[in-house]
């Protein structure tokens, strides 16, 4: 029987019932088995009870997105099958609790194979063996689903133990044994079902198994956090908000690095505390999402005016307003680029995958300190909450750039303070727009900061000539940044040169598009991808050149108004002729990219609206 090399698996259930950990266990198991995995999580803004699900794709090759149909749906209660059974591919599998789910009533392909699993029976048996009440063991349901799935895929049960050990470590390691027992029972129960042998979508063994412990099963929020750790961030302020809070809690759990993670009373305090800390010379960031980002506008302007290197992470969720708080969107781009009244330079980055999260998490502090201006990093929730197996981060030899910091002022002798306390020209007019920057505590570095327009020393002024010099100086920094920031951190073109179609995108869309490029290549279609990371200063010349040379152009983004397309038009004048959007709060699947390209190539559609996913 021929086996497959890639699969799409799903588990669902009420929030709080362990869907998340089941999926993580499954992903780990598949990773242990040598596959590359990608997982996407969907949940309601609710603590317990509402339907949530997790979709995992596992493959012999690197995967970076989900596909819509699923080969196998694992369930342990009744609602998931009702909602998702129709997504199972012909001859796919449904694992279910026969006491709860009646397959006859489900809307699904007739060829789907049924795998009833006696959850209660297994738990009862286990309870007897362990001498524990069955109610206390209900949680092993998750492992049962996963083990059953592994059995059906034909993946060895041995990986389960290692995966469990990975999941339950430290204080939780005592849970491994009992879960393993339950898992083995489930594994055997499936193997005992006759048609399990004939299951069409069994996974072929991975021939190029990556070395064990060579990869990370990472999500975007943690990848950002790790980048920040590496960068030497020493202070992070936040006010709880989905999905930014994930990164904050992750960092807080790693108190061994000495980072102060400060839960402020609101987002206004968060940004302004961060500014205050940045003034002192600390590497500091604040993390938030849409509603909280709104509250930071004024503080970001202050940092811009005072040339203070504050970093702001905005995790983008579905808007507007409270919107879809646990869903994803790329809806804050134009707001971020234009945030704050008046004109001031800001750097806006947006990473597209785990590696870029790590890179931007590291680089944002270098940029902030070098260009002495706030740096905003936009991460969509789809990226923050998705899981992907990746190679360990290349974290050696990374250079810290603290910019024009002044640690000593030679002309000043602190031993003789009575000679007067000269002011330091903190805002000296320079060619590159960047001025020397002593931090408080430096003898001889005394200067003032103010959100008002100011002189070189930081004194308030309303003199037109000084005002003009200062506006020009600040603006020059952005020109300097545009020239200096390495091109690969600004944008990158993937796929063949001179392709028939150029897809343009940003953020998490990258994963689905890169996966789609593989399919295009296989199908002999010539499609490439322009991935944009630096939104401000916008790489005007390069993007203009690339877009002008493109034969046909399709921009894909997760928002209603095609914000990147607007930004591109504003900066280059180019109106990209084909546009695809999705505004359901659900990220793009690889399939949707294929679909959009098909619409464009076959029907010359100007606008494609994508809607997949529940």
């Amino acid at each position: 029987m021929s086996r497959i090399t890639e699969t799409s698996w799903m588990i669902g259930g009420p929030q709080g019932s362990g869907v998340d950990s089941s999926a993580t266990l499954f992903a780990r198991a598949m990773a242990v088995a040598g596959f590359w995995v990608y997982g996407k999580r969907e949940y309601h803004s609710n603590i317990k009870g509402k339907h949530s699900y997790f979709q995992i794709r596992a493959s012999h090759d690197v995967v970076r997105s989900h596909i819509d149909p699923i080969h196998m749906l694992a369930t342990f209660e009744d609602s998931t099958a009702v909602i998702h059974a129709h997504e199972i591919l012909p001859e796919g599998a449904l694992i279910y609790d026969p006491g709860l789910t009646k397959p006859e009533v489900l809307e699904m392909d007739a060829s789907v194979k049924l795998f009833p699993l006696d959850y209660e029976g297994i738990i009862r048996e286990l309870a007897e063996e362990e001498g524990k009440p069955a109610a206390k063991l209900a949680i092993v349901k998750n492992t049962i689903s996963v083990a059953a799935s592994l059995a059906l895929y034909g993946v060895g049960v041995d990986v389960l133990e290692e995966a469990l050990k990975g999941l339950f470590h430290g204080k939780k390691s005592k849970l491994v044994a009992i879960n393993l027992k339950a898992g083995i029972k489930a594994y055997e129960a499936i193997k005992a079902i006759a048609h399990a042998q004939d299951f069409k979508y069994q996974m072929q063994e991975q021939p190029n198994k990556p070395a064990s412990e060579s990869r990370l099963l990472m999500n975007g929020a943690a990848a950002c956090g790790i980048g920040k750790l590496k960068a030497g961030m020493r202070f992070q302020t936040y006010y709880s908000i989905t999905p930014a809070v994930d990164e904050c809690i992750y960092l807080e759990q790693h108190s061994e690095y000495g980072i102060v993670v400060y839960q402020a009373e609101d987002e206004i305090a968060s940004i302004n505390m961060a500014n205050g800390a940045a003034v002192t010379g600390a590497r500091v960031a604040t993390a938030t999402s849409g509603p909280g980002f709104c509250l930071k506008a004024e503080g970001i302007g202050w940092a811009g005016m005072n040339e203070v290197p504050t970093v702001i992470f905005n995790y983008m969720r579905g808007g507007p307003s409270t919107g879809l708080p646990t869903r994803s969107e790329q809806g804050d781009l134009l707001f971020a680029v234009n945030i704050g009244h008046g004109d001031f330079p800001k750097i806006v980055l947006s990473p597209g995958d785990m590696e870029e999260c790590f890179e931007d998490g590291f680089n944002c502090f270098n940029f902030a300190e070098r260009y002495q201006t706030p740096v905003i990093v936009l991460v969509d929730k789809a990226l923050a909450n998705s899981t992907q197996s990746i190679k360990k981060f290349a974290d050696q030899g990374l250079r810290v750039d603290r910019g024009k910091r002044v640690t000593k002022v030679d002309s000043y002798d602190p031993a003789d303070p009575s000679t007067g306390l000269p002011k330091f020209p903190r805002f000296q007019i320079t060619e590159d727009g960047i001025s020397p920057r002593p931090i408080p505590g430096t003898p001889g570095g005394i200067h003032f900061l103010t959100g008002d327009e100011h002189t070189e020393y930081g004194f308030i002024t309303e003199e037109p000539a000084v005002r003009m010099q200062m506006m020009e100086k600040r603006a020059r920094k952005l020109v300097t940044a545009a020239n200096e920031i390495p091109e690969h951190l600004q944008f990158k073109v993937y796929g063949p040169e001179n392709a028939d179609l150029t897809i343009i995108g940003w953020g998490s869309t990258k994963g689905a598009v890169l996966d789609a490029l593989d399919r295009f290549a296989e199908a002999g279609k010539s499609v490439n991808y322009l991935h944009i990371r630096l939104m401000s200063p916008f790489p005007v010349d390069a993007i203009t050149r690339i877009l002008n040379n493109a034969k046909q152009r399709l921009i894909i983004e997760s928002n209603f108004t095609n914000q990147l397309a607007k930004l591109i038009r504003q900066e280059t004048g180019i109106d990209i002729e084909h546009k695809a959007v999705k505004y359901t709060g659900r990220p793009f699947s690889q399939c949707e990219i294929l679909e959009a390209v098909k619409e464009v190539q076959e029907k010359q559609s100007r606008k494609v609206v994508l809607i997949n996913g529940h």
């Binding site: 943690a222 020493r234 102060v260 400060y262 609101d266 003034v279 974290d395 303070p417 003898p443 959100g451």
Partner: protein, 334 residues
């Protein structure tokens, strides 16, 4: 930092005592003649001089308002922040770098109006900063609108209609919010004000000094004369200004671990803050020694016993980032 266990501060100091004028920047204040802000900034300069603080180790934060301009006049790192946000700035700076002395200032509108939320929450943290509020009952810089300390029914000359919101009592609110040092002083009582500011700086923890400040331009209810007038007590004419220590009241908590006594004292302090009197009573209403935020942080993050947060090393001499990520990555390794 050896001082951490102490209940009073000790800072690295200068060998010489700078003259207050040496602590003035070369920017001339542009306040209206007779404005109380002159008195307050003078007192701050004198306190800094007296304490022999190293000026380059002083971070002087200010809000936005007439009062906020003071950030420019002290010879120290001056940070003129945003309206209502001086406390978050000051807190962020002090937490990141506890080695500097942090003084925050601002108006009553700034601190108790738009800043009320931060004002309350600052009490909860007990970060070691000194907060001096220039309290003139009006929004000076925007031309005299009512501030939260203006009593209901009042109508200073700047208002078109009488004020219809009740005033807050900043001292009572500060005590209730958890401030560990709470005092009132007066802009033109140079001696008392200087001493109070010194005490506040010396106090380890978050301290509030609410300073009554005449605004001759907009507030005709409480001009300078109001403070120098005498008050008829029934029997005799008494000076308007009264000092808390004269009254026999003592707001210092000896032992914060005695909860009953602590609580009783807290209620007494609040009662004192609310006391009905025609006089203006200056003094320290409340002072208690409790662990600061930095102290508490250390229990959660032991590395901070050794380093100030901003000083935890993260790169080698060649500026190569050298943080070892293994423990951060551990849970993700497959």
């Amino acid at each position: 930092m050896a001082t951490k266990q102490h209940t009073e501060q000790s800072f690295p100091t200068l060998d010489v005592k700078l003259k207050p004028f040496q602590l003035r920047s070369d920017k001339n204040p542009d306040w209206c003649p007779g404005c109380g802000d002159f008195g307050i900034v003078n007192a701050i300069q004198q306190a800094v001089s007296e304490l022999q603080l190293q000026p380059w180790k002083v971070e002087f934060f200010a809000g936005i308002g007439c009062s906020g301009k003071s950030a420019q006049y002290l010879q120290a790192y001056g940070i003129h922040t945003l309206h209502g946000r001086v406390l978050p700035y000051a807190l962020g700076a002090k937490i990141a770098n506890p080695n500097n002395v942090v003084i925050a200032t601002g108006g009553d509108g700034d601190g108790y109006g738009i800043g009320a939320g931060h004002f309350m929450h600052a009490g909860r943290r007990n970060v070691d900063i000194t907060y001096i509020v220039f309290d003139n009952e009006v929004y000076g810089l925007t031309k005299g609108q009512a501030s939260p300390t203006l009593e209901v029914g009042m109508q200073p000359k700047s208002l078109a209609l009488p004020h219809i919101s009740q005033a807050i009592n900043p001292l009572a609110l500060a005590i209730a919010s958890g401030y560990t040092f709470v005092a009132r002083s007066y802009a033109f009582d140079a001696k008392h004000l200087k001493q109070t500011i010194m005490d506040a700086i010396n106090h380890r923890g978050v301290s509030l000094v609410d300073v009554h400040q005449p605004c001759p331009t907009y507030n005709d209810l409480h001009p300078k004369e109001y403070y120098t007038e005498t008050v008829n007590s029934g029997q005799s004419e008494l000076p308007r200004l009264q000092y808390l220590e004269e009254t026999g009241y003592n707001g210092f908590v000896e032992d914060a671990t005695n909860l009953e006594a602590y609580q009783a004292k807290k209620i007494a302090a609040i009662a004192e803050a609310y006391k009905l009197t025609d006089r203006v009573v200056l003094g320290t209403y409340w002072k208690v020694s409790l662990p600061t935020y930095a102290d508490r942080l250390e229990t959660n993050i032991p590395l901070l016993r050794e380093y100030a947060p901003m000083d935890v090393p993260f790169h080698d001499d060649n500026f190569i980032a050298n943080t070892d990520l293994s423990s951060a990555c551990e849970e993700f390794v497959v």
